[in-house]
């Protein structure tokens, strides 16, 4: 009887617990709190937090290559690049490119915000990260979770958990991080600029946009194909109006299913051994830096454009160039309406916001081409 009891105790995970495991439990509980209580990106933070918890329970071997349950999700979903493109398919079925088609020059704002990403790349190298790691950290500035996961899984898979959590955490913190930067880099007068109504966009223009964009980007940057093709296919589902079932499936059921596996797999990469190092923790600081610099770059780009434009744009919309759809656009609208109650910037900010999604994919694809 005693032997059975002894055997039970020694075969349990409790005796193999390390201090690192306990710290990771704490990280998991903090993320669970943020997801459930504060509702910060709960759709992703909740499965990520649970993934962290279960993978830091000893002897479960959930991430054991070729054996662990979560390892199969991770291997087939992320290592083989299945999940991020599927998320983009759903995203495409939800995105309205109308404001971008109505005002195509906002594409430049989506490009401007990516400049911040390359500044962070440079900074990360200065802080001692190798080039692949620096690129994976810099892409956090794009505030695009699936693209961050896509690039990191190819360039620096050991940083996947840190970069993904960092990207999603800062996306959730857009309303806190962006407004001070917006107010710092714009004058009261600039924030008051009222933009005219967007021109109407016809159905044919909406249908042609994903086709033209997919062809153009994939011809210029073939490494962007997995993400951009799925994004534009999803959008074509939506805009064509003839495959409503597929559009709904992509944006609801499929999106929800892959989100579960994505969150769980990303969380499961965060074992105490891989996560608890000063280098990894420093990523959170650099991720924040990337996000702030990208916001600033978008704002400066808008101000530069105003030097040449006859009809001035409100430079606040440049901040929406960091992707993070639609939080960044909402944030721009809020700050703009605080300066001028007549200002309705939401639709104007959606242009650079969706341009930011395209811009981040292009930036990631160029990084992948150069460093992959």
């Amino acid at each position: 009887m005693l032997d059975i009891l002894k055997d039970l105790i020694y075969s349990s995970g409790a005796v193999s617990l390390t201090g690192g495991n306990l710290v990771m439990w704490l990280v998991s509980f903090v993320l669970l709190y943020l997801a459930i209580k504060k509702q910060y990106e709960p759709l992703l933070l909740l499965p990520i937090a649970f993934g962290i918890l279960i993978v830091n329970l000893p002897l479960t071997f959930l991430m054991e290559p070729e054996h662990g349950l979560v390892w199969f999700f991770y291997h087939y979903g992320i290592e083989l690049d299945i999940i991020p493109p599927l998320i983009f398919l759903g995203l495409g079925a939800m995105i309205d490119f109308g404001p971008l088609i109505a005002n195509p020059k906002t594409l430049l704002l989506g490009a401007g915000a990516q400049a911040g990403l390359y500044v962070t790349f440079f900074a990360a190298v200065l802080f001692g990260f190798d080039l692949q790691e620096a690129a994976s950290i810099a892409i956090i500035g794009g505030a695009d979770g699936p693209t961050t996961i896509f690039l990191t899984s190819k360039l620096a898979p050991h940083l996947l958990g840190a970069t993904a959590v960092s990207a999603y955490a800062y996306m959730a913190l857009v309303p806190i991080i962006q407004p001070p930067m917006m107010k710092l880099l714009t004058t009261e007068h600039e924030r008051k600029i009222v933009m005219g109504k967007l021109r109407p966009v016809s159905k044919l223009q909406r249908i042609c946009f994903p086709i033209v964009t997919a062809m153009a980007i994939m011809l210029m940057v073939p490494t962007a194909a997995p993400l951009i093709s799925m994004l534009m296919l999803g959008n074509l589902f939506k805009e064509s109006g003839v495959v409503e079932r597929l559009s709904k499936a992509a944006s609801n059921e499929l999106m929800n299913i892959v989100t579960i596996f994505l969150g769980l797999s990303v969380g499961a990469t965060m074992t105490a051994g891989t996560f608890l190092s000063p280098k990894v923790l420093f990523i959170f600081f650099l991720g924040l830096f990337a996000f702030i610099v990208s916001t600033g770059a978008g704002l400066i780009m808008a101000k530069v454009m105003n030097l040449f434009l006859k009809d001035k744009i409100n430079p606040l919309i440049g901040a929406a160039g960091v992707s993070a759809v639609p939080m960044a656009a909402r944030c721009v609208h809020k700050v703009g309406s605080e300066a001028n109650r007549r200002n309705y910037l939401l639709m104007h900010a959606m242009g650079p916001n969706v341009a930011g999604v395209i811009g981040t994919v292009v930036a990631a694809a160029i990084l992948l081409k150069n460093l992959g």
């Binding site: 195509p104 594409l107 430049l108 490009a111 223009q205 964009t213 153009a216 395209i358 292009v362 930036a363």
Partner: protein, 62 residues
């Protein structure tokens, strides 16, 4: 490990320039395609429309 600064500069410059080139080309293509579609749609409207018959119930000045 020694940092390859020439590679860093290459990634930095080609990255920034590359993103801008792609987005500017996309802007031009979007503008061009929307203008062509506008033109075709306006042409279609012009051909399809005929002088409207005077409505018998329309208010008249006299």
């Amino acid at each position: 490990m020694e940092t390859d600064w020439s590679k860093v500069m290459e990634v930095f410059t080609t990255g920034i320039i590359g993103v801008f080139v792609v987005m500017i080309l996309l802007q031009i293509l979007t503008q061009l395609s929307t203008r062509v579609i506008d033109f075709v749609e306006n042409l279609g409207k012009g051909e399809g429309s005929s002088p409207e018959p005077k409505s018998p119930t329309a208010p008249s000045k006299d």
